[in-house]
Symmetry: C2
Subunit: 296 residues, 2 copies
DNA sequence: ACCTTATGATCAAATAATTCGATGGTGTTT
DNA sequence: AAACACCATCGAATTATTTGATCATAAGGT
């Protein structure tokens, strides 16, 4: 009467008994003897602490509890079969996991679209995806041994290969209500007087070139570009934004390009980076292809 | 090296090893010896046909495949624990299944509301629900050994108990565009000239009293009251409808009550019927209570 | 370096779990 | 009534699992 864990073998036997309709036929199908089937069933009943078959009449008949156990048991067996099947698929080139790190500056919609395509294919690979910013991307890539990163810039490493994708334009903007909107031919020193908005880069080494903070007195760190855009719209300060994400606001005038002498636009070619030594599995290759297609 | 089914014990061991961090500690926790743990792990690896741990370095480290197997294995173990737990709950009075058959003439929203309340409670009982019409309700109740039926009328059986609920009104209606809309003090013979709309009753014995077909020349059978209502609105014919389902259309005049001499309204008390001899389980009692509350 | 401790593999022996084969009782079919 | 199918049960045979001991290797501390 003690609580014992069920085991799959007895559930397998139960299922066979119900399918074939009798203990003896089940034994036959499972290449066992009838007494062995009897044994497994009574073991199951002991483990569960409940009758599974009603033996009062001639043929053993499933009890209501038994019926329910059968249903749940079959679910369990299916899951177990899935686990076993997984390994075969891994040996056929599908990798157990695939991790992708993407710079949040890139438009996420196409990435998500690609990921949806992949998951719709019911690939055995567990795909994980996260976004970081600037140096944070590479940091995460290295720290958690991700397989691919889609990044604007990275510290080159001979162990990595990179594929260059279509350029992404970045613009220095402010709200039209902001004092800077009216100013012209600004230099860096002038910008220092205002609040700069930037997305928090979780990497320690902020030693990245390119669109950098201007190093003014007040720099506000936001968590992502969506928040940053809102802050910009509210006129909190100025900052760089991917053109794609503010095209609409530039057109309707809510946001304005800052007339900065150092250049208010930059182009970045996103890079699709992966490790040279550890070749990607089938899912990784597929993802790489699809990303190139979408961003290429 | 043959394909073998996984078994839960080795997955349990795998999980313990990962949780404790070493074979020996896992052995300790599981009250086994370290060599036994070794055995189970290597058995698992054989069953799967893949390495689960990487033994090349000092401490055994999960391989990527192993990690994935662990994740899936834990899901499996949880499911198994659930199956074991089910039986305990059944022995505490929860029944394995509960089936309810409802007459489609009754408003389904309150029934569904009650069912949602019950499923939200995460009751172990599997609840099934279906709707039929008139005699079909009882037929299904008997045929598939349902536990409860909510019906307008039934052939009394000493083995059943019934609780009477709040009355439901049924009205004989037509579209305002229909010729019958203008006629007054109609008798049965006059009605025979028009198309009668009725919901198909799947029971063979149509020997039910009350709102019956009028036995005219053309009787159209619809599959349910929603369809019937649409047919009525289109002016296809006349027919009985539960007041609740056409209250709105009567008010705005789209549908009109037929001035029938035999009476254009009937009241039915829905009955909540269950078997006397087989007492309901906890879920059944709960459902009965809730239905009484909602329909009482 | 040296000693100590922890990790995990492996082996033969012991133990436990499962299967087999045979037997028997009971209900069905013909 | 005879033949058959269903299932329980028992001891023996067979497998699976655990144990306890021993070994090689790596980590940690002095």
């Amino acid at each position: 009467m003690v609580f014992m864990a069920v085991d799959l073998e007895s559930l397998r036997v139960l299922s066979a008994v119900v399918e074939t309709g009798s203990f003896a036929k089940a034994a036959d199908r499972l290449h066992k003897t009838q007494s062995s089937v009897s044994y497994q069933i009574s073991k199951l009943e002991q483990q569960l602490g409940a009758q599974v078959f009603d033996r009062s009449s001639y043929r053993a008949k499933l009890t209501p509890v038994g019926l329910r156990i059968l249903e749940e048991g079959r679910r369990l067996l299916q899951q177990a079969a899935y686990v076993a099947r997984l390994v075969d698929q891994f040996s056929e080139g599908w990798e157990p996991k695939l991790e992708l790190v993407v710079d949040g500056m890139l438009p996420t919609a196409p990435v998500l679209g690609v990921l949806k395509e992949m998951t719709d294919l019911a690939i055995p690979t567990r795909i994980q995806f996260c976004t970081e910013f600037l140096g944070g991307v590479q940091q995460r890539f290295e720290q958690q041994q991700a397989d691919l990163m889609l990044v604007l810039d990275y510290q080159t490493d001979p162990a990595y290969s990179a594929i260059s994708l279509q350029a992404l334009e970045v613009v220095l903007v402010v709200s039209r209500e902001h004092p800077l909107a009216a100013r012209q031919a600004l230099d860096t020193r002038e910008l220092h007087a205002f609040v700069e908005l930037t997305v928090h880069d979780s990497s320690y080494s902020s030693a990245y070139g390119g669109l950098q903070t201007f190093g003014g007195e007040r720099v506000f760190y936001l968590s992502d570009f969506r928040t940053k855009k809102e802050a910009l719209l509210q006129g909190l300060g100025f900052g760089w934004m991917p053109l794609e994400q503010i095209r609409h606001e530039l057109l309707n005038g809510q946001l304005q390009e800052v007339d900065y002498q150092g250049g208010s636009r930059f182009s970045y070619s996103p890079l699709l980076v992966f490790r040279k030594n550890e070749p990607l599995g089938r899912a990784g290759e597929m993802l790489k292809e699809k990303l190139q297609q979408v961003f290429g």
